[in-house]
């Protein structure tokens, strides 16, 4: 395996799970936003 392939695999092993971690954070914060700022009766 050449070193560039090794670097590419390392990138995948770091970046792909990080995308999920960041997404999980977005999910939590989005749910928090909805709870903190629910739609008013006018908006429903």
């Amino acid at each position: 395996m050449n070193s560039v392939v090794g670097q590419a695999i390392e990138l995948m092993l770091i970046a792909y799970p990080t995308i999920f971690a960041v997404t999980a954070l977005f999910i939590v914060l989005t749910i928090a936003l909805k709870k903190l700022f629910p739609a008013t009766q006018d908006e429903e």
């Binding site: 995948m12 770091i14 999920f20 960041v22 977005f26 989005t30 936003l33 008013t40």
Partner: protein, 369 residues
Amino acid sequence: MEDLLMGINGLIANPKFIVMWIIGAILIYFAVEKDYEPALLLPIGFGAILTNIPFSSAIGPEGPLTVLLHAGILTELFPVLIFVAIGAMCDFAPLMRNPLSMLFGAAAQFGIFATIIGAAAMGFTFKQAASIGIIGAADGPTTIYVATRFAQELLGPLSVAAYSYMSLVPIIQPPVIMALTTQNERKIRMEYEDQEEISQTAKFLFPIMITIVAGVIAPISVALIGTLMFGNLIKESGVLDNLSNCAQNELANLVTLLLGITIGATMEADKFLTVDVMMVMGLGLVAFIFDTAGGVLFAKLFNLFLEKKVNPMIGACGISAFPMSGRVIAKMALKEDPTNFIIMHAIGVNVSGQISSVVAGGLVLALVK
């Protein structure tokens, strides 16, 4: 007299120019006759023709296309301005109603990394491989932004690959989905509960939240995610209708026009007609295939833990080809069961792909040295 003959002499000396005219004409044909991303492919095709006329005054040190290249592409200005326009066109409400759908957007970025590995194995440098893999973001501005940073010599073919395959999503995705799912899985119904209303305050704060979180994790992504969310913010503010309309229309059209023809101008015959470019085009297709596979397989894995299953086809919507992918998957669901309307779920996942692809692009920019 020599000046009058220099064009003809140039063609005789390098017939590859004519091959590029044919390629430009093919792109224009796809744009006009097949309606494949015409706003980009027609200007790219014509730009390719302009740049491949011998001694063309459109390029060269003082050529207008060279000026545009330096002013808009090499400065990364055009891609970020397009993102303002895209952000203004986005509606994140479906995503906010069902935030878990963002996971499918994350999963569908798999093709980026699989393709980077593939490109590395084929002999490209790490930065070139990263630029090729980012075609899997299915996002033109992100592709151009990363390519400008890492592999300017591949900017032309990368852009052509990205925009061509985005328009070919209706052809690329269905066979991959059919291969990875059973008919029973494709028939899984996804009902709509009462549509939850999202408050305007939440919609307004959402882009600010995304920008800050993504920016703190990968500061190099702020130019991309920040401008995407800025466009959305001016729409959701409710007080900048003129700016929002301008972003969605005049800005989008003007920058798209200049971007396309400038990208085409980078497609010089000697740089474009190479084995490397053919490999880039092939790897671009691989990126889209693996994106689709990544999203679908993640949805199937997700279903193992769910009582109320999701239709695994919506995993494929996690690519950033919005709204094409959402519509393709919704149509496939209707074909399996004419009463199964999953369009809103599909569009929600498709929108999440926009965010995930920019996050992925930011991480690639941050981690590739």
